[in-house]
Point group: C2
DNA sequence: AAAAATGTTATGGCTGACCTTATTATTCCA
DNA sequence: TGGAATAATAAGGTCAGCCATAACATTTTT
């Protein structure tokens, strides 16, 4: 329980795992993708994280967070999403840029600052992208939602959260009005892993499956 | 003028020079002290900073900021002092801890965030330690003040700013009420580089010369 | 002017976090 | 069941920013 200082890189690996995986085992290749590093680099880092008891790795299967690792990851998520709230609600930073700015600040934020910030913000429950903010004690109930990529033709659903992180992806979703609270209807599902066509805000929008994986929705009807 | 990303270490060296030196040449040993690294490490870093055109070094004399280096340093100071304002005024962080928390955040703050923060705060002119906040365009008028260490016996002066950075030093000054706005009177000057004895807030306080160098005052009478 | 103090350079090391290019092991699928 | 795809290891590098120790240069003090 000693407060060791974890590097930015360490925090990012753990956070990525929490964002991608929830409870499950994560393929190292997914990590490499999201963190923009090579699979070899992930292997090396996973070894180091394993030695610190933050992750556990089953070769050829994947990695998952240990209890300790999940605690750290939730704490990073808390810092990140609180900063998102501040940047969006108080500094009026553009929605699509909020993640990336918060992603820098999260690693430079002491516990006292985190908790004071939470108080200042009125202990918000979700960030501007719709994701829940873990509590100070680490407790965290993930959204009861499904990825839009799994929606069937004709389905209407409400967007609960956007789990994307890349600014250009967020900008695209923002332009197309695929935002928390919005209702979307799947009007076409192209074959061969092709894009979904959605009806949202009076317009038709094409959305690739991999982007749709990061849009979390709740079924409304059909 | 390309926006290159400077490392935290680079920013800290430049900021330390601006805090210590103003315009003048700074002894590398002073930098080593303030940054808690060895003189050899400073030499190496000064070489790298020189290659980037951020400082200019005259061997055995000292180092000073170039125009470019001063611009960067002022920008770091701006970020740092804006965060100090936010942490102190809005998050109610303890005065003595505000510097160290801001000192982490400063390196993780994008220009858009800096300017939005300045707006949110109402473009403050000074930080809670009394130091002026450089403007967005880099312009910066240093305080017209003298270090308390140079005050004469019997002198009464008003504290304008505290330029110390170490949290324990700030805590000591806070406890002894040596804070911006306060009036202090020098009631004893011990020989042999000994401490000053001050009268402040109805109490007598001993203050070592090296700490007194970081207390900036304006003479009031005598 | 000599000695002491201070500052610089030269070497050699270390760590974390990346990279590339092979090679080897495992899993998946046709 | 055998080949393709995927994952892991091995080996050798890079880079920033630190460290120590020792040699050397300069400045300051006595
Ligand atoms: Mn981050
Ligand atoms: Mn800093
Ligand atoms: Mn070397
Ligand atoms: Mn190696």
């Amino acid at each position: 329980m000693t407060i060791m200082h974890l590097s930015e890189s360490t925090e990012m690996y753990l956070k990525a795992m929490a964002e991608l995986g929830g409870q499950d085992v994560i393929a190292t290749a997914r990590l490499a993708e999201r963190l923009n590093v090579t699979p070899v680099s992930v292997s090396e880092m996973v070894r180091r994280l394993g030695e610190q008891g933050l992750v556990s790795h089953t070769p050829y299967k994947g990695v998952h967070l240990t209890k300790k690792g999940r605690e750290v990851a939730c704490n990073v998520l808390r810092r990140q999403r609180l900063w998102e709230c501040f940047l969006y609600d108080h500094l009026k930073i553009d929605w699509s840029q909020v993640y990336e700015f918060a992603c820098s600040l999260e690693h430079a934020t002491a516990p006292e600052v985190t908790e004071a910030l939470a108080g200042f913000l009125g202990n918000p429950q979700t960030c501007p992208r719709g994701n829940p903010i873990p509590a100070a004690d680490g407790s965290f109930k993930p959204l009861d939602a499904m990825p839009l990529s799994e929606a069937k033709l004709g389905q209407t659903a409400q967007v609960l959260a956007v789990n994307a992180t890349a600014t250009d992806v967020l900008k695209y979703l923002q332009e197309k009005n695929i935002l928390p609270g919005r209702e979307v209807t799947v009007i076409e599902v192209a074959p061969m892993q092709g894009p979904l066509t959605l009806h949202v805000g009076g317009k038709d929008v094409a959305l690739g499956l991999s982007m749709a994986e990061f849009v979390l929705v709740k079924k409304i009807k059909n």
